[in-house]
Amino acid sequence: MIELPRSNHQPAPAIKFVGLGGAGANVLDRLILDGLDPDSAIAMNTDVQALNGSVTRMKIHLGQNTTRGLGTGGDPDLGHAAAEEAAEEISAALAGGDMVFVCAGLGGGTGGGAAPLIAHLARKAGAFTVVFATLPFAFEGRRRTSQAAEALAQIETQADLVVCFENDRMGEALASAGGIQQAFIAADQTLSQGIRAVAAIVQRPGLLALGLDDLSALLKKRNTRCLFGYGESDGPNRAHEALDRALRSPLMDRGRMLAGAQDVLIHITGGPDLTLNEATILMEEFNRHVSDHTRIHFGFATDPHLARRICVAILSAEEAPAPVAKKLPQAARHVETPAPAAEPTAKPQAELFSAPLEQEPSGQAGAPDEDDPGDSYYNSPPPSTAPPMPEHKAVPKYAPQPATAKKEERAEQMPLEPASRGRFEKSEPTIVDGEDLDVPTFLRKNTRVK
């Protein structure tokens, strides 16, 4: 048992979470179902039907006149114009947040077109702005890939931090084994875990505090791709297992991705019985995966909710060699970066997550219980976005089993999982405008903001 005094109770910064477009709203919904306070979440979309389907309470319809509720059909110019039309409403909604987290799929017209503007408005409102962006899967077509690269470059000029995930990499391992459906789920899951981890880091400094400057050291560089891993365990060998699972997350490549990293952040959370010895063993093991030159940003927090569980989150970033690169070489080189310009002012705030990564018991925001209306809603995904993803309901809110183990289990249950193109696997693809029409429409539209 480690008996350390609680770090001085600095009030957590207020974060507003924006889910932009279909993909962004999807992740936001997921976060809410995982315990994010719905009042801190704002969904923004051009597609009215999709917007109505989101479980967020606050919704902003972009482009009432520009797109008339119909989505952008993948056109970022329309997405931008639509956001412009709603600029006042957006600014009003973002006012009062110390930080704004924007989550968007950059392959979509709304996500890619509106994200730079939203980031701009968020900063104008005085918030430290972090954009969580996903780059589309390659199978979504070249047009989306290049649109996304353009959007990313614009966002980097607007946001304080950009956490950029590559769908291709998050889903790669699973796309071949478990089909495209699994790939999307893996990508969604990684992204939402990443957002939770970052929120926890900035909100719950914990015993060994990590802060924005640590994050900035990782992410402040231009055109980086986020490497993120998350693992949990409550088994007899839990420290080792949790780390191992984190390293086996899709973006970690069993830790190989960390070999050349200049900065790596690792955040360990455990229940009251987490011993210093365990943490030390874990860190020693972790050290073997990084080079001597790597600067490790280490955070540590306890949370009685976790009981016997240990959670490990690892975050790093590497440079993308070209604007739109699919495969990246091993190493990432980082240069020391100055601390972020705008440190958010701290302000008391209700806890956002009752998530494993958090430190305190405070009963304010418990895990939503079984008959949470949000949950039942999620079970019947609304038409056209929040595309049918049966797994979402299968993922327990605070899974007692580690997420990675869960995934493997599923893969075992479905050994004959049809691959992405299913029955058309062997036939000549039907490609129209760079899109493979053999891939189910609902999957291709998943990240498309429609």
């Binding site: 049918p388 049966p390 299913g422 029409l437 189910p440 609902f442 999957l443």
Partner: protein, 398 residues
């Protein structure tokens, strides 16, 4: 004409091979004598990918057709399709010799030749060249120029062409089975002959044949074919989407699509499910109805929108007084009429082959439109000496 003649329409579809044996009556009507059918193997998106297996299916369908009709099948009218097939309109012109002003048959043949010899890509062959109109000295809407006075005659043709190698796969398949091809026809054009009335063709109509692996279309305006094409997406894609999305085998997905599926959204109660039965009829997996319908809706809507975009490249959509006619197996999908109306903003009818006698109720189904249409095509072209196809065939097999 005048003499009864027996012809066979053969569609090698993505989901079934179908041979319709029909008798062309002297009075211009068609009587179906028998239909042979076998589930397809080795056909993807309307094209043969496995000649051996597909050959077996064709043999089966032909044998059944022979059985049912008591006719020995030697020749067939073959339907061809695939996303590689393209079309365009072409005008040819011919000026009469100085010493003549009255148009004769040979002049008409010349101008038709001129219109037919339109430039198509080197690897392609012509599938159908369909006469649209004649013009005599610029005067349009001429149906029979022979006997008229004029200096130049022009002819518009709708030219359908596709990649030779691919089309010849099916020729080879039939050759291996000792079946002779009397003519071959782009399937949407064939289906149109079965489901459209003359008045629809004149007022303007879009016919869509949604099959298993392809969605074909054919636009008529002013009595002539103006546009036609094929998208390599059909009902099997819906099934595949369901199989992947709901994580159920293809067979189950097909079953649930037909029994429970619909393109209409928002019609189910929140949380309403359908139960997938296992092989023994016991309740198995529960499937959210709205999810089922969403997957279907998205695929069908996308397919229709893709087609609409193709059609918008020319502006005949504004001339479809007769609206839209849907046929093919997937036209039986619930809600497809309304979805199509929604996408195109015009009235839609579901149709199966009309004006044929002898079809038993079992064959009154939109999936037979193409094969029956091939027989109707034969009826319409009998008497005219060999279509364009004939000549091409001779070139290929000599």
């Amino acid at each position: 004409m005048g003499k009864d003649r027996i012809v066979v329409g053969l569609e090698i579809g993505t989901s079934k091979v179908c041979a319709v044996v029909g008798e062309l009556k002297g009075d211009g009507s068609v009587q179906i004598l028998g239909v042979g059918e076998a589930p397809s193997r080795g056909v993807r998106k309307g094209e043969i990918v496995d000649m051996e297996n597909c050959g077996k299916c064709i043999r089966e369908a032909i044998a059944e057709g022979e059985d049912k009709s008591d006719v020995m099948i030697k020749n067939v009218y073959l339907g061809v399709t695939g996303a590689h097939i393209a079309s365009f309109n072409n005008r040819g012109s011919y000026t009469l010799p100085e010493d003549r002003e009255k148009i004769e048959e040979e002049d008409v043949a010349r101008v038709e030749d001129a219109a037919r010899t339109a430039p198509i890509p080197a690897r392609n062959m012509s599938v159908n060249t369909i006469l649209q109109h004649f013009y005599v000295d610029g005067q349009d809407g001429v149906v029979t120029p022979v006997g008229m006075f004029g200096r130049t005659i022009e002819a518009d043709h709708h030219i359908v062409h596709g990649v030779s190698n691919r089309i010849q796969n099916s020729f080879q398949c039939l050759k291996d089975l000792d079946l002779e091809i009397e003519d071959f026809v782009f399937t949407p054009y064939a289906a149109a002959q079965a489901v459209l009335t003359q008045s629809q063709k004149s007022t303007g109509v879009l016919m869509i044949d949604i099959g298993g692996g392809t969605t074909g279309y054919c636009v008529y305006a002013g009595g002539a074919v103006k546009q036609s094409g094929c998208i390599g997406v059909g009902g099997d894609h819906i099934t595949n989407d369901l199989s992947l999305g709901l994580r159920i085998p293809m067979g189950k997905a097909e079953q649930i699509k037909i029994r429970e599926g619909s393109c209409t959204l928002g019609n189910s109660l929140p949380g309403e499910t359908v139960t997938l039965k296992d092989e023994h009829g016991f309740a198995g997996k529960e499937i959210e109805r709205e999810m089922l319908n969403t997957i279907i809706h998205m695929r069908v809507r996308e397919t229709l929108e893709l087609m609409k975009r193709d059609l918008e490249k020319e502006n005949y959509l504004d001339y479809l007084g007769g609206g839209i006619v849907l046929t093919g197996g997937t036209s039986e999908l619930r809600g497809i009429k309304h979805l199509t109306e929604d996408v195109f903003g015009m009235p839609v009818q579901l149709c199966k082959a009309r004006n044929v006698s002898g079809v038993t109720s079992a064959f009154e189904n939109p999936r037979y439109s193409t094969a029956i249409g091939l027989v109707k095509y034969a009826q319409a072209t009998t008497g005219s000496e060999g279509g364009g196809g004939w000549r091409w065939l001779k070139d290929f097999f000599k």
